[in-house]
Symmetry: C2
Subunit: 409 residues, 2 copies
């Protein structure tokens, strides 16, 4: 069974945390100076362990085992949210580093090839999953040209500032990879609530997003009698309450939906809103359920328009993200490793958040492992996991990687 | 019966419209260069008619009849909304000018004293009812010091730019005034729908405004299961729908309420709102009903907090505006004049919008007359009234003014 060095794992995680540390959290948005410092440090750590390491033209850090393939790529992303936690992404990156070097230095596994990776901008500071898209050859040039961060800096300027423009962009080497493995904190409460230590990810949920627009008539909030009003805000509130009832009737155990933004226009206390708008997002692992939910959102808009007095339209706000199924064989290797290391204390579960395997799984087999998040918190400085759980997750993933490589996929 | 010059009335209204004309609308916000041009023109027109006219230190244009008192002050405001109609304010100002000069030039009424006035900034570009507050001696120095327009210009800078700082601020001359009369477009649909020509205003409705705040827990829109969420937006939508039911049960025929602003924080599609806020405003002529509505808004907040999972608080967002009762004797004079001129085609009605008499009525008796608004539209370039209705309104107010002055109040 593959053996990892728990102290080294935790020390490197703590060191990565120091880049952009901010209280208990981390601010290390992609391509920022501190993100690039961390990436150079990661490349150095890979080289110290005997790997060729490159930082490519978009900022991906990719290590290459001295062994020939077939290889496994193992990692995650080391960029963070604007107010990020210390483990989101970082955990999987250091797992990749530790598993690659642990297998290489142990004579029992020194023949196996694991390439560690840290993708760039999974969090979408400029363009979500920028690094894995680029590596897979599916980075849309128009999207790249349009990408800017919240401060208005273009991706091109950020790449130039990070001294990356003259570097080649790495692409997947045909035939080298059996697949890609990624570990991540769960970011939800299910493992902790069930008292389990490992989640074997079955799929990454699909996401749909709609913009619902309400067109009424702006008017004076004093002189316009209630029966004559065409208040776009009132229509929005009604829609929000009614779509909840409809979605509750369609939902499975893990279906989620969110109205994250709502605006009334012009937004003054003494003016009846003439226009209003909301963002409605919903996620599920079942594409048929997503279809039914989208149809329900559109139907409610049409019904509201027919009933009057406000016109309601529901249109897609983003390209739909299809559910991504994790490789069944890889899942079984991970499940078997979990059963060996923490017997009975693991479960299969979907991922409700998006991750780079959503991109990579269209090209090579992928699988993910989750470890528990304390209180289910993520995307927040308070994000944390128990050190024992961090070590256990790495042991399971290392064992699964060995088993996959020995089986040849 | 007092006789007005309809052609001169309409010509002066059209001329005033030319200052800041913008399509069918007018942009003549208070203390802007074009507002000051219009005020200098108004002062000139008053002087041409035999009145002393001054522009005071805040921009009020006040004419003084050569006759001794007791006098009636008649007018309105000549500043507009940022995208204003051509009659809001302007109508009452030119009525004041026309009635003052018509009575003075007719030997039958030449002994009567009418002082025409155009207040400044009723619309609150800097500070609502600035001119009438100043004239009544109730302009709060702190509010004046803090007053800025939407572009951030301070009132003090605007007064300096308008060349007003060295002018004295006019104050009500003790003993001179029987009272103040103001005409205005209705800004609502009631007169037009009833096929009537004159509204005798009984009161100006009171206004209450509350801020309702919702404190939940911000979290990831993918990984947080529905039952664990403390979504501030969901609580806001529920509150909005439920307060409507409560207010409907408390409302009279003319009660109005409006949620003009609502915000979710942080307002991102993939984040469960941790905080939310809405502005809830309600208006009625009955102060007891306003009290009951405010109590209902507070009670619903307390109930929602008790039911969980989001904390809801309701606090006053503005100083309450008490309903302002128009002088009963003045109302009767206007009603009698309307019955003489348009028998059976007038009604008594409250004003649902605020006007300078809300300030002035605390110092001298006030009354208002309304003429129909086409489609009830105001605060919009499309605001308009029929020319016949404009003339009729002026005839009624002139007749009422003569009758009040003859009766000595």
């Amino acid at each position: 069974m593959a053996r990892i060095n728990a102290d080294r794992l935790l020390a490197d995680l703590d060191h990565l945390r120091s880049f952009g540390a901010c209280g208990n959290g981390v601010v290390r948005t992609s391509l920022s100076p501190v993100d690039m410092e961390a990436r150079h440090w990661l490349a150095t750590r890979m080289r110290e362990a005997g790997f060729e390491a490159t930082i490519d033209g978009v900022g991906n850090v990719i290590g290459r085992s001295p062994n020939p393939g077939p290889a496994l790529l193992v990692g995650s992303h080391s960029d963070t949210q604007p107010q990020g936690g210390w483990l989101d992404g970082a955990l999987g990156v250091i797992y990749g580093l530790e598993i690659a070097r642990a297998l290489l230095e142990d004579p029992a596994t020194a023949d196996l090839a694991v390439d560690p990776v840290s993708w760039i901008d999974e969090e979408g500071t400029f363009l979500g999953c920028l690094g894995s898209r680029s590596w897979c050859g599916v980075l849309d040039p128009k999207a790249e040209a349009a990408a800017r961060n919240a401060a208005g800096t273009s991706l091109a300027d950020a790449l130039a500032a990070a001294d990356l423009v003259d570097r080649p962009r790495a692409r997947m080497e045909p035939g080298r990879y059996l697949g890609y493995l990624e570990a991540h904190i769960e970011q939800g409460p299910y493992l902790e609530e069930a008292g389990l230590e490992i989640g074997v990810v079955t799929s990454i949920v699909g996401i749909r997003g709609c913009t619902v627009r309400f067109e009424g008539e702006q008017n004076h909030a004093g002189t316009t009698p209630m029966p004559r009003r065409r208040d776009a805000g009132v229509a929005l509130f009604d829609y929000a309450v009614r779509i909840r009832e409809r979605f509750q009737a369609l939902a499975g155990d893990r279906t989620v939906w969110t109205i994250g933004r709502a605006t009334l226009d012009p937004g003054a206390p003494s003016i009846i809103p003439g226009r209003a708008e909301m963002m409605l997002q919903f996620r599920d692992a079942d594409v048929d359920r997503l279809d039914r939910m989208e149809a329900a959102a559109e139907a409610l808009a049409a019904e509201a328009t027919a009933a009057g007095p406000v016109k309601v339209t529901c249109t897609r706000a983003r390209a739909p993200v299809a559910p991504t199924i994790m490789d069944a064989g890889f899942q079984q290797h991970i499940a078997d490793a979990a059963e060996r290391i923490v017997p009975g204390r693991w479960m299969r579960m979907p991922s409700a958040a998006g991750h780079d395997p959503m991109v990579v799984a269209h090209h090579i087999p992928c699988a993910m492992v989750f470890i528990p998040s304390i209180d289910g918190i993520s995307h927040d400085f308070a994000e944390d996991s128990k050190r024992d759980d961090i070590v256990t997750g790495c042991r399971v993933l290392a064992d699964a990687a060995e088993s996959i490589l020995r089986a040849g996929g």
